[in-house]
């Protein structure tokens, strides 16, 4: 039912873990809906220098998280914001129709992490302004 690529990413997920003192953190889902994901990013020069994920979820959720980190790694933030649900699914050579929500989750997690980064920057900026 899953493509080879999905199974590869499920079996050998890339970039599992948490970046300590990350520049941005995105958490999506919750245990009640069965899927939960935490994305942490390190940003350098508006570029994703490092990215890690943790996922509680089905095979597709794990595989989409994994490939998402690959796709985002090294991308400029504005480009990374454009990674869509469909792009993630395509990166895995497709997903079964009833699993499309999982790829949604991964993209959402990344976008949240980037937004978190921007929010922190803004705060820091404001902090600076006050000084």
């Amino acid at each position: 039912m899953y493509s080879k690529k999905v199974m590869d990413h499920f079996t050998n997920p890339r970039n599992v873990g948490v970046i300590e003192d990350a520049d941005g953190v995105g958490e999506v889902g919750n245990p009640v809906c069965g899927d939960m994901m935490k994305i942490t990013i390190r940003v350098n020069n508006n570029t994703i220098a490092d990215i890690k994920f943790q996922t509680l979820g089905c095979g597709a959720a794990i595989a989409t998280s994994s490939i998402l980190t690959e796709m985002a790694m090294g991308k400029r933030l504005d480009e990374a914001m454009k990674i869509t649900r469909d792009a993630v699914a395509q990166g895995l050579d497709g997903l079964p129709p009833n699993k499309m929500h999982c790829s949604n989750l991964a993209a959402d997690g990344l976008h949240k992490a980037i937004e978190d980064y921007y929010a922190r920057q803004e705060k820091r900026g404001k902090g600076n302004a006050k000084k």
Partner: protein, 385 residues
């Protein structure tokens, strides 16, 4: 598939080689239509009647009370809708439980949308229906009580005998969905006191696509499949002769070997349950500890998603199933697990191993060897600690 560790017998069983052998001739030799007059049809007809006797013997009824169908789902649908239409003048109320199989629940839902009233009884945390609840739920306009013999997900065996006494006293038709038990666990329609009982061949080493409805003599039922006069005018459609022959042979084998198979399954089941509970932290057993199918091991592994475990087990050539929402693409995990009061987030991590007649100790040991590592790996990837 010889190296496969198949532990999903509750979903479907392989066909027993003796069953396959029995069916062999009915495709190319005795292919006649059993309803025909000539002798070529006669051989097919005799084979069908022979199978009917064997199935009847397995559940202790008269052969004339067995009606062959295209599977368990058809038997359930027929029983529910056929009773509703036959008795709607008397009333439009149906009593069932919250943990029935969809094949029995959904026809009720269909009727509900068409003016019937359905009471879905809750179950306790072991998955047991309380007979007294059934008694209290029966009203003047109740026409049908539908309770399964044993639950397909958590394995709990329901007190159908006591419920049968209640329905008899109340004069309400009683349907037992025995798809999980027939051929695997003793079924006696006389002690159950049921009026209808649904069964399916592919759950006891027979072929897929054939089942039966037991219909107690005198029980009124409107047809589901109208047409030719087959099955005493009650179920139309050319007989699935080879399938029926296979079902009969499977029933015969079950009659002979059920006791030793059950004993072996029970032993391996308990070994597997204990091994999982001992070997993996934060795991709970679903269903009743003792009133359970001899082949059912249902657990919830906390903080892991079920489908991810299935996939990992599959890579180790172990087949089992899960009531996780993600196995079906729905949003909610299995209605059965939720009805037992299991919290949603835990129900997502359910696993069902269902053993069979050829399951070995080595296979169980292997599962116990690989499962803890799988759980550990997945938990290690989770943001929830």
């Amino acid at each position: 598939m010889d190296d496969l560790i198949y532990l999903d017998h509750a979903a479907t069983t392989p066909v027993h080689p003796l069953v396959r052998q029995a069916m062999m001739l009915y495709h190319t030799e005795y292919y006649g239509n059993p309803e025909t007059l000539y002798s070529a049809g006669g051989a097919a007809n005799e084979a069908v009647e022979d199978a009917r006797r064997k199935v009847a013997a397995l559940i202790n009824c008269d052969p004339s009370e067995i009606y062959f169908t295209g599977g368990g789902t058809e038997a359930d649908n027929w029983a529910v809708k056929g009773t509703a239409y036959a008795r709607e003048k008397k009333g439009k109320h149906i009593v069932t439980s919250a943990i029935e199989h969809h094949a029995a629940l959904e026809p009720c839902h269909f009727l509900e949308k068409r003016g019937f009233d359905v009471t879905r009884l809750p179950v306790d945390s072991d998955g047991l229906v309380t007979p007294d609840d059934v008694k209290k739920a029966i009203r003047k306009d109740t026409i049908l009580v539908s309770i399964m013999h044993a639950n397909n997900e958590v394995g709990t065996v329901e007190p159908v005998e006591e419920i049968g006494k209640i329905t008899r006293e109340a004069g309400v038709a009683f349907l037992v969905d025995a798809v999980q038990t027939v051929g695997n666990y003793p079924v006696d329609v006389q002690t159950m006191g049921c009026d209808m009982l649904a069964l399916s061949a592919h759950k006891f080493y027979g072929p897929k696509g054939v089942g039966a409805l037991y219909l107690r003599k005198g029980t009124r039922l409107v047809q589901l499949l109208h047409g030719g006069g087959q099955e005493g005018g009650k179920r139309a459609g050319t007989h699935n002769v080879h399938g029926i022959v296979g079902m009969g042979r499977a029933a015969e084998i079950a009659m002979e070997e059920m006791t030793p198979v059950m004993e072996q399954e029970t032993e391996l089941r308990d070994r597997l349950i204990e091994g999982i509970l001992d070997g993996i932290p934060d795991v709970r057993l679903n269903g009743h500890a003792t009133r359970r199918l001899p082949n059912n091991v249902s657990v919830c592994v906390e903080k892991v998603e079920g489908e991810a475990m299935l996939l990992s087990l599959d890579m180790k050539r172990i087949c089992c199933s899960s009531g996780s929402a993600c196995t079906t693409g729905s949003l909610e995990p299995s209605h059965v697990l939720l009805a037992l009061g299991i919290p949603v987030e835990i129900a997502h991590g359910s696993l069902r191993f269902s053993l069979g007649r050829w399951t070995t100790e080595e296979q169980i040991n292997y599962v116990l060897e690989v499962l803890p590592a799988i759980v550990q790996r997945l938990r290690g990837m989770s943001p929830v600690k």
